[in-house]
Symmetry: C2
Subunit: 115 residues, 2 copies
DNA sequence: CAGTATCCCCAGAGATACTG
DNA sequence: CAGTATCTCTGGGGATACTG
């Protein structure tokens, strides 16, 4: 039996870590192919991308749709459960935007949007 | 100059990682002494607790108040900036609670509340 | 009690090459 | 294009001992 010491720990178990939040962030905006995600989630390696996707899929947050064709095509999308994180991730973004304005002088920080 | 590729990355830079969210979670409920935090944030080591507190302080999310007495007494509390994460952490908890109900059979998981 | 200083380890993550 | 398989390695993090 798995033991947690508050609900936040449960959440962090599912979307914590270095990449899960970011992958979800882009998938929540709409279905993406593997290559697109690789481009969007900057600096993620092939290995970590696939690994992250597998874990999110196992935990029921995303869905993997495979097209039987050559060359292969795979599309990832959020489940309802995954999509239910949209308001939270949205808030986290807003907070980060504010923080960037408040706590950095112009020129100390830049944000490059990829999508 | 630090470069980010979306606002979420900024947020994760500040409250990402293994412990920051949990430490904030408890501090948002009210000021705490070092020892209390050590007890509440289950399994955190002395080293990681102090390190986490220092980083949160540096980033302006918490405040450290030291009482000049023997034995030493130190109290940590949130700044306004830190407190502004309250609704988000709250949402993350709710989400985790729901997830625990939906995705685990009774007996597969337990949540022990420490405060 | 709060905090520092070390030593040490291993899982998470990077890099590269390969396959269907 | 999507994914697997290895190999490697770093630094996040754990354990312990010590100080004011």
């Amino acid at each position: 039996m798995k033991t947690f010491f508050c609900e936040l720990e449960v959440t962090l178990e599912v979307i914590g870590g270095k990449w899960k939040g970011l992958v979800l962030y882009y998938l929540i905006k709409g279905p993406k192919r593997t290559g697109e995600l690789k481009r969007l989630v900057h600096n993620i390696s092939q290995k970590m991308l696939i690994q992250t996707l597998r874990e999110l899929e196992t935990d029921g947050l995303i869905r993997r749709k495979m097209y039987n064709q050559v060359p292969p095509k795979v599309e990832y999308s959020t489940t309802e459960l995954g999509q239910s994180l949209e308001p939270i991730l949205s808030s986290l973004c807003d907070w980060g935007g504010n923080y960037a304005e408040q706590s950095f002088a112009p020129g100390e920080i830049e944000i490059l949007y990829l999508d």
